[in-house]
Amino acid sequence: MSEYTATRSGAPAATAATPTTKRRLRIPDVAALVVFLGLEVLVFSLSSPYFFSWDNFVNIFSALAVTGTVAAGATILLISGQVDLSVGSGVAWVGLVFALTQPTIGTALAVPLAVLAGLGVGLLNGLIVTVVGVNALITTLGTLAIFRGLTISVGEGQSIGVSGFDWALIRPVANVPLPVIVVVVVLVGVGLLLQNTIYGRSIYAIGANPDAARLVGLPTRRNVFVAFLISGLCMAMAGLTSASQLGATSGTTGVGLELAAITAVILGGTSLSGGVGSVGGTVVGLLIVAVLGNGLTLMRIDSSWQQVATGALLILAVSFDRLRARMAER
């Protein structure tokens, strides 16, 4: 028998995690995405003289006001390991409730009613997921269809004009319209909520390990329920913003909004399986998509191609991240 010998002495191995945990622990690098965003800005600045201007940046932010508001709520839900597909329908539903009631009861009453309509969607989703125990994907796929159908049916498929509700056009400071200020406040608010409150910490904990969260005494179901309510509140905000920005609402308002929001959140590094992510990442994700859309428009590229570009971008960004992770492991 030959002897086993150590041929070299070296530094003791660190408390090394096994490679599998390493793979699982890797967090998509937001910094890489910021670099990508910078490249986007650079390319578009060079290809269009109008791109790099204050007014155009304001345009970009105005364009993401609605998506950004629902993406804020989606960030909380995805981190907690849940998902809400009903936000697009919810936005249309909120717009409809507002547009139908505002002429009779006035703006002052129609706004809270519209907020209640959004909260109602969130409440329904939250109850079905946390009390009945249906998977969030299935639940919100159902409510997506229900509220889209309700909106089209009650609104008779027509576009309904909204008048006397043009707050979204007000530009209080530096030519920045109110919806931009609103979406920034919402995103900062959700960011602080996630980073600096017990609620936010619990959301991460629940997404990272629901059993462990329950065993350290966190009210997991209540917290998830509240996350759906917040998503409902975001729908209400987005619905009112959309109605004011467009001056109308219809059965097709907000179609595909849920996917746009989730795209931005995932681009920003939030994990679909929960426990990982941040609002900062979501903001970068939102900007990457919005800058791409804006830049392509300035280059007079048809908007349907923007969808192709956004989809390709999502897959490329996530694939790139995977590849980089695999390279780092070698």
């Binding site: 070299r8 070296g10 622990l25 065993l215």
Partner: protein
């Protein structure tokens, strides 16, 4: 020499990023011999095994199979050479049948179709070769853990195997199931198969292994015939120094008030259990897997609800609704399955430690900052001898098992729990960290914390318990006072010798 070696590894090196985890490891595996591979967590066992199984490629060194040096190979190529890895985690398809799970990935075919009768025949033969009969049509997830592991082994052994690697196979098995596995290993070696057996348990080494190889910090620390070594030598080479089994001194607890009491308690998994723990006492609950000790521990933390009997805290009857309620009563709980039930591996160590205390740590209302969590972490980091980078934002999952366990223990110290229920506190914890955890538990008890240590590992009980309660099939079989707590007393009361 070459003739009696199936696999010969020389100078294997492997780095992950900047960290070299194997610094030139030699290993010889001979047909018909069982080589036990030991080492603390992070010593490099998993990496070594993955290289042999083709899952990783080494950065330096060479591997010869049957005397021929082979270049880096894939898992599939390793399989073709007869190398089989049975990993710790079960990787079956729970919703498929037992027969399908045995042949998973290599279905017998007739043309394009799966030949179902051949599948059943092959599955049945494979299981019989392991001395097992299972209902081939049962769904995999209807089996018990041990049975699922047997299916896993049956699948791995299909085709001609020359080297079988077991990665801590008995960690979650009952004694009977473990014994059955030892039988399987014996039948493998008589057929001339080389076996590499990773374990944490010394009794297994001396029961089934011919050779023992100890890794420490990515190097071979000891390699010898089992017959020529001792448990003390093996342990010393694992930790780098000798370890004495220290037993807590007998303390007088008769005057201390009873803090925790179960009277005629029954719940799914146990019945008619009476137990009482005084202030500052460490009550050991010993029993094999399925004996009910884990279930009693769960009931004390309201994960499991009592169907009959009662629980009293400080002499007052208490009904605990849920874990949150239990925490409110000053109870802390360390669950047996760290990864699934306790650890937030993707979150920072500080957050993991502070989680149950967030409400108390919050500045006002629900407002919490990283700083208060960091302070909480600093408070316990040194006290618990957590080996880490010292950075409070380090992810928990980057610590070794033993150090994760210390952070999770710190969780309840920070929460100020006066009763701590620990279920399998040293599972997946290496020898050195084990001793440190025992020391912490004794210290806590000395300071007046009441501890209930529920374990299927007699070492835990012998090391710390003031009183031991032994359970068999959901009932209390014996209550052993401090001076009588020995390995043999425990195993005897649990109904059998140490499984060998």
């Amino acid at each position: 020499m070459t003739n009696d070696t199936f696999l010969r590894a020389r100078g294997l090196r492997k780095s992950f990023g900047q960290v070299e985890v194997l610094h030139g490891v030699d290993l010889d595996l001979a047909p018909g011999t069982v080589t036990a591979l030991l080492g603390e967590n992070g010593a490099g066992k998993s990496t070594l095994v993955r290289i042999i199984a083709g899952d990783h490629h080494c950065d330096g060194g060479e591997i010869a199979i049957d005397g021929t040096v082979v270049d880096s190979y894939s898992v599939a190529q390793a399989r073709r050479r007869g190398i089989r890895l049975i990993s710790q985690e079960i990787s079956d398809a729970p919703t498929l049948s037992v027969a399908e799970n045995v042949v998973l990935g290599a279905w017998p075919q007739r043309g394009m179709r799966v030949d179902r009768s051949a599948m059943r025949r092959e599955a049945s033969e494979a299981l019989q070769a392991l001395g097992t009969e299972l209902d081939l049509d049962a769904r995999q997830d209807s089996l018990r853990l041990g049975e699922r592991q047997i299916v896993e082994v049956a699948r791995a052994l299909r085709g001609e195997s020359r080297l079988v690697i077991f990665d801590e196979p008995t960690a979650s098995l009952s004694d009977a199931e473990a014994k059955r596995l030892y039988g399987v290993i014996e039948s493998l070696t008589t057929r001339g198969v080389a076996v590499l057996y990773i374990t944490h348990r010394l009794d297994e080494v001396f029961a089934i292994a011919d050779r023992v190889c100890v890794l420490r910090d990515g190097k071979v620390a000891l390699v010898t015939d089992v017959a020529r070594t001792s448990a003390a030598e093996v342990v010393a080479s694992m930790v780098g120094h000798s370890v004495e089994r220290t037993r807590g001194a007998q303390r007088s607890l008769a005057d201390a008030p009873v803090v925790l009491e179960l009277t005629d308690a029954s719940a799914p998994g146990f019945g008619g259990v009476n137990l009482a723990a005084r202030r500052g006492e460490i009550l050991g609950l010993y029993g094999k897997v399925g004996s009910g000790v884990a279930e009693v521990a769960e009931a004390l933390f309201a994960i499991r609800h009592l169907e009959a009997g009662s629980l009293a805290l400080d002499g007052t009857p208490a009904r605990l609704r849920d874990p949150q309620d239990a925490i409110g009563h000053g109870i802390g709980f360390l669950p047996p399955d760290r990864a699934r039930q306790a650890a937030f591996v993707l979150r920072s160590v500080a957050e993991n430690l502070a989680a149950p205390s967030w409400r108390r740590l919050a500045r006002w209302r629900g407002w919490i900052t990283r700083a208060v969590e960091t302070n909480a972490y600093r408070r316990w980091h040194d006290e618990l001898h957590v080996r880490s980078t010292g950075d409070a934002t380090q992810l928990l999952g980057t610590l070794s098992g033993g150090n994760q366990q210390k952070v999770l223990l710190g969780r309840w110290l920070e929460a100020g729990s006066r009763i701590l229920v620990l279920s399998e506190p040293t599972r997946g914890v290496d020898v050195g960290a084990r001793e440190e955890i025992y020391a912490v538990l004794r210290e806590l008890a000395a300071q007046g914390t009441t501890l209930v240590v529920a374990s299927s590992d007699y070492e835990d009980i012998v090391a710390v318990a003031d009183t031991a309660i032994v359970m068999v099939r959901g009932r209390v079989a014996a209550t052993i006072p401090h001076h009588d707590i020995t390995v043999s007393a425990l195993t005897e009361a649990a109904g059998g010798a140490i499984h060998v």
